[in-house]
């Protein structure tokens, strides 16, 4: 997993998953849809797992099997990396509201 980007800058963030059912289909779809709006390479992992996965892949995000209250860590690199991390943190913190995607 490489996080080096064109300008080399890596932005990170973390947020608690409050969704009652954990990272289920709906949250996973919302998260990946939002991530895809950014040019940045965005990776997430849950609760200090060894592997970072592509936040734009719904298959991978579902495969995280992140449970309620796990900490979602986000790393992004690229031009709009900062905006991407902020938006994703907001989405998870606000429990995937319907108007967010």
């Amino acid at each position: 997993m490489t996080l080096e980007s064109a300008n080399g800058q890596v932005v990170t963030g973390s947020v608690r998953l409050v969704h009652a059912a954990g990272m289920h289909a709906r949250p996973a779809v919302k998260l990946t849809k939002l991530a895809k709006k950014f040019q940045a390479h965005i990776f997430i992992r849950a609760s200090d797992a060894a592997e970072w996965i592509n936040a734009k892949s719904v298959a991978k995000v579902m495969a995280l099997r992140a449970a309620r209250d796990s900490i979602i860590q986000i790393r992004a690199s690229g031009e709009d990396a900062e905006g991407a991390v902020a938006a994703l943190v907001d989405l998870v913190a606000a429990d995937f509201p319907d108007n967010a995607s």
Partner: protein, 541 residues
């Protein structure tokens, strides 16, 4: 199966299900992965998959609009998967390396499905069926959507894990070809269909490479040779010539008068799966139709067949036969022949379940339509009708009552109709043992199911093939019991199972006293030749 492992280079050994030789393009046709699709060059395959993914996305989006709630959420998840590059990139990379689009797509989805079904959590387990749904939707579109005829070239050697009868029937066998199954059984419904069409078929091949350009299939030797060498081809062509000469000499026998044995004439009739089988070059030499199956009518695109469609099919067979007798068997659905909208789902043992006449009596709405069509066809007086899977005399009487009602109803409507001769297909052991309790005009022994039920062996299970040998004494003595009853009660008895088409069984059947055999059109010449040989003493009983 280890004993069926590769024998030399690219030759594989299995078990015979239908004899004959085939040489043609090698085509894999596993339902889950291809459904009969033939792969093109990688760039075209990638384009085909891309188009299929877009169409699937549109279909699912449309579906999502009409459902809402949790359903819509799951459908959105499916759409998101269709746009997931992490999932798709490896699939397109595999296609680039020559893997067919359908195979690349389904193996990637299989991996996902496996992950989900192994999950501890029920919610995630349930996602595996959504993924299976998505897999099948895309495969369906790849196959050409509106279930058009599959693109298997005529004359191909078709290879699959196993093949359901419906798929066999979708394939165009008019140009010959052969069937090579990695699993499968010589006693399955598909094997029966292959024998009926004279299509060589080998089962239990174990594992075979996914790709080869051409193949040689030898039904009798039970071998499959992939991308044969010039030497293999030469040997094969010599065997093919020999087989042709053999067939030509047995065909000459066909035109001669009725076969006889021990001074008695032997009637040789044919089994047909559908009206088109009568186009077989040898069919004209038959003494009649001993078994016309009617399940083909249930496999149509437009659901269960109406009275007119059925009447036309029955009447066509009766017209073909002229003065010769035609025995039509009412729907024998269930067992290994499920029919959506008719047979019951979820039976633990479908072979021991509500099938054959049992199902027809459960579903008089469907049965009445067939009986009306048969009653109309019976106006030509060469029709005989038999019921499959009869267990108790009361079932025969219940069916007869429904039949009489159908005749009365038609006549009161002013439609010409008649009650034909009614017979029983003897295949359930209790009915065979108590055959004198049945008031049937004629009996036809269904030796496939009779042997299956007597030996307690699922005939579709290849591992039991050696136990279900119909020549064992108990099977033959029960056949003799039925034939003896027929002689005593002056009721015609014939045998329409695969035994009749198997030259190794003919002597045994004649010794049981049978004088009427119903065989596959492609076996007619061979069986007549065998009977000739037996009566001349060339072959010892």
């Amino acid at each position: 199966m280890n004993e069926h492992a590769a024998i030399a280079g690219l030759a594989y050994k299995g078990m015979t299900a239908s004899i004959g030789l085939a040489h043609g393009p090698f085509v894999r046709a596993d339902r889950a992965t291809s459904g009969g699709r033939v792969a093109a060059a990688p760039p075209d395959e990638q384009a085909a998959l891309r188009t299929a993914l877009v169409s699937a996305g549109h279909e699912i989006a449309k579906l999502a609009e009409s459902v809402g709630g949790d359903g819509a959420e799951i459908l959105e998840f499916q759409v998101a998967l269709l746009e997931d590059d992490d999932l798709l990139d490896p699939i397109f990379a595999a296609i680039d390396e020559g893997v067919p689009a359908h195979t690349a797509w389904s193996s990637a989805l299989e991996a996902q499905i496996g992950d989900y079904s192994a999950a501890a959590n029920e919610y995630l387990q349930a996602r595996s069926s959504d993924l299976a749904d998505l897999r099948d939707r895309v495969l369906q579109i790849l196959r050409g959507g509106e279930s058009e005829a599959p693109r298997i070239p005529s004359g191909a050697v078709v290879c699959a894990e196993d093949l359901p009868p419906s798929r066999f029937l979708e394939i165009d066998w008019s140009g010959g070809g052969g069937l090579a199954l990695l699993r499968g059984s010589p006693n399955s419904h598909v094997a029966m269909l292959a024998r009926a069409r004279g299509i060589p078929m080998v089962v239990q091949l174990g594992s075979v490479p996914a790709n080869a350009r051409t193949a040689l299939l030898d039904g009798e030797g039970a071998t499959l040779e992939l991308d044969p060498s010039a030497e293999q081809l030469g040997l094969f062509e010599r065997r093919q010539d020999l087989l042709r000469q053999n067939r030509a000499s047995s065909r000459a026998i066909l035109a001669r008068p009725t076969a006889s044995w021990a001074g008695e004439p032997i009637k040789l009739l044919i089994n047909i799966q559908r009206v088109e089988d009568l186009e077989h070059a040898d069919a004209q030499y038959a003494d009649g139709i001993g078994l016309m199956r009617t399940e083909f009518l249930l496999n149509g695109q437009s659901g269960l067949p109406d009275e007119e469609t059925q009447y036309r099919a029955y009447d066509a067979a009766l017209r073909w036969a002229g003065k010769r007798p035609v025995t039509i068997r009412t729907f024998d659905a269930g067992g290994d022949k499920p029919v959506p909208g008719f047979t019951l789902d979820g039976e633990a043992n479908p072979f021991l379940g509500v099938r054959g006449l049992r199902l027809c009596l459960e579903r008089p709405d469907v049965f009445r339509v067939q009986l009306r069509a048969l009653a109309r066809a019976a106006v030509r007086d060469n029709l005989k009708v038999m019921f499959p899977m009869v267990t108790m005399p009361a079932e025969l009487e219940a069916a007869r009552r429904l039949f009489s009602e159908a005749v009365d109803q038609l006549q009161s409507e002013g439609v010409p109709a008649a009650l034909p001769e009614i017979g029983v297909m003897v295949e359930v052991p209790v009915a065979a043992l108590a055959i004198d309790q049945f008031d049937a005009a004629f009996l036809s022994i269904g030796s496939n199911d009779l042997a299956q039920y007597l030996t307690a062996c699922d005939r579709t299970n290849g591992a039991l093939a050696s136990l279900i040998d119909p020549l064992q004494p108990a099977v033959l003595s029960l056949i003799k019991h039925i034939v003896d009853h027929g002689r005593h009660a002056r009721r015609a008895v014939s045998l329409c199972g695969d035994m009749a088409s198997d030259p190794r069984c003919v002597a045994g059947l004649l010794s049981c006293g049978l004088r009427e055999l119903s065989v596959n059109p492609s076996a007619l010449a061979l069986i007549k030749q065998t009977i000739d040989g037996l009566s001349r003493g060339d072959i010892r009983v």
